[in-house]
């Protein structure tokens, strides 16, 4: 256990406390007790920044499942540190903000903080794990906590819809990614990212290289809301705004970007990786920015803007991966700039987008709406909020002197340099890159302006609001204020970032193109002279400004384009289709008749065991072993058992039937006694007793046993199955005792139960000690079964509507059973 391990575990452990804090200390907002967690974690992470500055990494390993090469290895290099700082830093601000956003009186804030802490721990786990399987576990945990947070107001239908959508899409990607990880393991023989990078030639020459890449990228693209999987992010905006600011703009959606950057040393340098990432990234960039312009909900604008910006970062990472192709040379240095821009913009995006989300939350909180058609002229009422929004938006639009300007310039530089590339058939297509980037930037400019000016300037429309807006409380303004001051600080002094965070992150992404002992030198400056990039920016401002002013003239054109909802319709249609299909399939065999289920079970048993007996030649063993002689007692017992069993078939009365079946069981008890197995005999006897009394207890509820009107065909089926089961069991028993290929494990237990287990009763020592794990899981299964029975019986009547037998909602087997019984 190292400090970093503890840092990952602490948020999870702290969740245990949260409900109690909420329950017993109601005067104070629970958020105040949660706040110390991200704050202290932030300082823990900061304390490591100095250690990794030169491109070194910290690694602590904790064996977890060594036999399967799964270790809880914490690996912190520049890239991990950068993300860990974002997670804890933004996390602290978001918790602070949420204290004022969520009322302690009306909201279930304990749930909120439990999920939020769970997310924080999981996200730290994602970025700090070196082991792919551990990373995957934390990855899915972030999806789950995101699901829970989107559905925080679960009584709203849209929240549930959004939560389900995000869950289905990100989990789909997650499973694909898991498959990709397993393939990586098959190729390299290890789950450790470090070791895979060390064995790179095994992976890159393998036939499965491309499928693996696609599977892993599916995971990254779904998580980072890349086209066409972006559709979940706008619906995720149903979450409380602090969550949108935290998960759905600053951290979780960047997990995909983290993964792509983290795996760039493995896949980077290949043409497919380059094209997939930069291509999808660019499509997402332009699609997101164009879609954002037509939104009328503040959070929807930000959602599409986030999609677009994620696409921007993604495309830059794709371009940056080309540097690996060039290896350690002067040219590679030239192309690493795209990656520098990606890392820099990632930080910038977290700052300004986090601030903007918080602003949107404040507007929503104070006015009661997020619809820009109802908003306007808030600048004089909420001056501080307006200032934050203005700075954030201008940074997002890429204007000086804010950090967004710097990274936007670098983005243009990266795209222009990409156009000069002569590999990956970029010499023909490369020219498109700067063009797309430029068009997307124009739209980015427009929606940034829409966001701030449609809300805060223009005519006041107070009559459309339910409350009179006024400035938010100081505490609520604190977090966005901190973020926008970072926007300005990073804008004016970008090199405080480049030395401490960007350079180490780059050396983590490019381990191969660095000479030993050397490190990246990143210099970010405002003024490069009148370069192409500057001309592009000026063009963006002029064209974007003109289009913004003329917005009303052309916004109607969106109505003519086929709706972007086409993708959503595909999702919705696919979902209902799958649901219908699966319920049809399920209904075809879940008939609610116990007899049918027994047929499945026994039929399966006959087929599988019978096939195995025939196939493996087990039948040859019959008669080989020495069978004990049959004594008189055994013959008598067997005779009685058979008589009772046969008599049960002809019983006309249920009481007699119960007694007959019971006596078969008691005969089995006597067999155990005869074979000197007291434990088994005791158990068998008590089980029989309990089940007979169970029968007696529900005796009255059972329908009268009557001669069933069954066809010969039906009875023949029963006969065949019974004979089949009997034969298979008997043959198995004969084969098993005929063959003794190995020494029985029983000898070990008999010899060691006293010395190792401290008990003389071998059976019991096996149950609780040698195979205690089995017992534990068995009682767990039994416990679940008993809860299932309870739920099926007790909750069943609630599902029937008061009017009659028509079940409300879907018909579950238990209801159909009930109806069957009622009809009897």
């Amino acid at each position: 256990m190292s400090l970093l391990h503890i840092a990952i575990v602490i948020p999870f452990t702290y969740t245990i406390l949260v409900p109690f804090l909420r329950k017993y200390i109601r005067q104070a907002h629970t958020g105040w007790f949660v706040l110390p967690v991200p704050v202290s974690l932030f300082f823990v992470v900061v304390s490591y920044v100095d250690d990794i500055r030169g491109g070194e990494a910290i690694e602590y390993s904790l064996p977890w499942i060594p036999s399967m090469d799964v270790h809880f290895t914490v690996y912190a290099d520049g890239l991990s540190m950068l993300f860990a700082l974002l997670i804890t830093g933004i996390g602290a601000l978001v918790v602070l903000y949420s204290i004022f956003y969520l009322s302690k009186l009306t909201e279930a804030i304990h749930r909120f903080y439990v999920y939020l802490l769970m997310f924080m721990g999981a996200m730290l786990g994602v970025v700090l794990s070196d082991n792919l399987i551990v990373l995957y576990g934390f990855w899915e945990l972030t999806s789950i906590s995101s699901f829970l947070l989107i559905a925080f107001w679960y009584k709203r239908e849209k929240s549930r819809y959004g939560a389900q959508k995000s869950m289905l899409i990100t989990m789909f990607g997650g499973f694909a990614m898991l498959a990709g990880f397993v393939l990586l393991y098959l190729m390299s023989g290890t789950f450790s990212i470090r070791e895979i990078i060390a064995k790179l030639d095994l992976v890159s020459s393998h036939a499965l290289f491309l499928p693996t890449m696609i599977l892993v990228l599916l995971g990254a693209f779904t998580k980072s809301a890349q086209f066409p999987f972006h559709i979940w992010l706008p619906d995720a905006m149903e979450a409380p705004t602090p969550v949108s600011a935290y998960l759905h703009s600053a951290t979780m959606v960047k997990a995909g970007i983290y993964l792509v950057a983290r795996l760039t040393p493995i896949f980077g340098g290949s043409a497919e990786w380059f094209w997939f990432i930069s291509g999808i990234g660019l499509i997402t960039l332009i699609w997101g920015s164009i879609s954002a312009v037509k939104q009328t909900d503040l959070k929807a604008i930000l959602a599409f803007s986030t999609i677009s910006q994620l696409g921007l970062i993604m495309s830059l990472i794709g371009l940056g991966s080309a540097a690996i192709y060039y290896g350690y040379s002067g040219q590679s240095e030239y192309y690493t700039l795209a990656m520098t821009a990606a890392v820099f913009h990632l930080i910038n995006h977290a700052t300004f987008k986090g601030a903007l989300f918080m602003v949107a939350g404040i507007v929503d909180h104070e006015t009661g709406t997020r619809d820009i058609r109802k908003l306007g002229g808030l600048a004089s009422l909420m001056p501080i909020t307006f200032t934050c929004a203005l700075i954030g938006s201008l940074s997002m639009a890429g204007l000086p002197p804010f950090n967004g300007f710097l990274s936007k310039e670098m983005f243009f530089t990266g795209m222009l340099r990409a156009a000069e590339m002569d590999v990956f058939s970029m010499d023909t297509w490369g020219v498109l890159f700067p063009v797309i980037a430029w068009i997307a930037s124009v739209f980015t400019f427009i929606y940034s302006f829409i966001f701030v000016f449609r809300t805060f300037t223009g005519k006041k429309k107070l009559d459309q609001l339910t409350t009179i807006p006024h400035e938010a409380p100081l505490g609520m303004l604190l977090s966005p204020a901190v973020l926008v001051s970072l926007v300005i600080i990073f804008g004016l002094f970008p090199d405080i970032l480049s030395f401490s965070l960007i350079e180490p992150a780059l050396s983590a992404i490019y381990p191969s193109i660095m000479a030993a002992g050397d490190r990246f030198h990143v210099q970010i400056a405002f003024w490069h002279g009148l370069t192409m990039e500057l001309i592009m920016t000026i063009g963006v401002v002029i064209i974007g400004g003109a289009l913004f002013l003329a917005l009303r003239r052309w916004i109607g054109w969106y109505g003519r384009i086929p709706r972007k909802l086409a993708l959503n319709a595909l999702y919705d249609g696919g979902l209902t289709g799958i649901e219908r299909l699966s319920s049809r399939v399920t209904r075809s065999y879940m008939t609610g008749s116990v007899r049918d289920y027994l047929v499945y079970i026994f039929g399966f048993m006959i087929l599988v065991v019978g096939f195995l007996l025939l196939r493996t030649g087990a039948l040859d063993f019959i008669g080989h072993g020495s069978y004990a002689n049959i004594t008189l007692y055994e013959a008598l017992l067997a005779g009685v058992t058979m008589m009772a069993a046969i008599a049960a078939l002809f019983a006309r009365d249920r009481l007699i039937l119960i007694i007959l079946v019971g006596s078969v069981g008691y005969m089995a008890t006597l067999f155990f006694v005869l074979f000197r197995a007291p434990d088994l005999a005791l158990t068998q006897m008590i089980v029989e007793t309990v089940s007979v009394s169970l029968f007696l207890l529900c005796f009255y509820h059972l329908p009268k046993l009557k001669k069933e009107m069954s066809t010969t065909y039906f009875r023949l089926g029963n006969l065949l199955i019974s004979i089949g089961v009997g034969l298979v069991v008997m043959i198995t028993a004969l084969c098993a005792s005929g063959a003794r290929l190995f020494d029985s494990i029983a000898d070990y237990y008999v010899a060691n139960s006293h010395d190792l287990g401290g008990g003389n009763n071998v059976v019991n020592v096996i149950l609780v000690d040698f195979r205690g794990f089995d017992t534990m899981l068995e009682i767990t299964v039994l416990g679940i079964a008993s809860l299932g029975i309870y739920a099926m019986i007790k909750l069943r009547s609630d599902m029937l509507s008061p009017l009659g037998r028509q079940p409300v909602g879907r018909s579950y087997p238990s209801t159909s059973l009930r109806r069957k019984r009622d009809e009897d």
Partner: protein, 140 residues
């Protein structure tokens, strides 16, 4: 079924306690003689079923207001915590140990961690059996 209740009820009053004591005995004896948590638990449940048959569910519910689902959970919790307890001593999950101690009255006695685990099994089995039987039995 209200015919011979008097004899049945009178007998049940005594027999239940005998069965219950025996079930506890069998649970404790389990480590060295036939028995153990599973059998003991089933037997205990059998005793409870006997009273239930004799006096009806309403009365038993009133006299013994035990929520058997919670009993199941408690049992499972004990069993799981025994397993987790191994971590404190830096050994794999669910490792057991035992020792011989000189206790007052009892003399030299073997104490085994397996017994704690078995207690979990015992409670779980009673909980499961009773909750299944009562749920089915109470169903209208």
């Amino acid at each position: 079924m209200k015919i011979n209740d008097v004899i049945f009820q009178t007998a049940a009053k005594f027999v239940t306690f005998i069965i219950f004591t025996f079930s506890f005995f069998i649970f404790m004896a389990g480590h060295n003689a036939p028995g153990g948590g599973f059998i003991g638990g089933l037997m205990g449940a059998g005793a409870l079923v006997l009273v239930t048959l004799a006096f009806g569910m309403k009365l038993v519910r009133a006299v013994l207001p035990v929520n058997y689902r919670i009993l199941t959970a408690v049992g499972l919790m004990i069993a799981t915590l025994t397993g987790i307890g191994s971590f404190v001593f830096d050994v794999p999950f669910l490792s057991h140990t035992f020792g011989y101690y000189d206790l007052p009255i009892l003399g030299e006695t073997e104490l085994a961690t397996a017994t704690i685990f078995d207690l979990g099994v015992y409670l779980t089995v009673i909980g499961i059996t009773m909750s299944i039987i009562l749920t089915i039995g109470e169903d209208e």
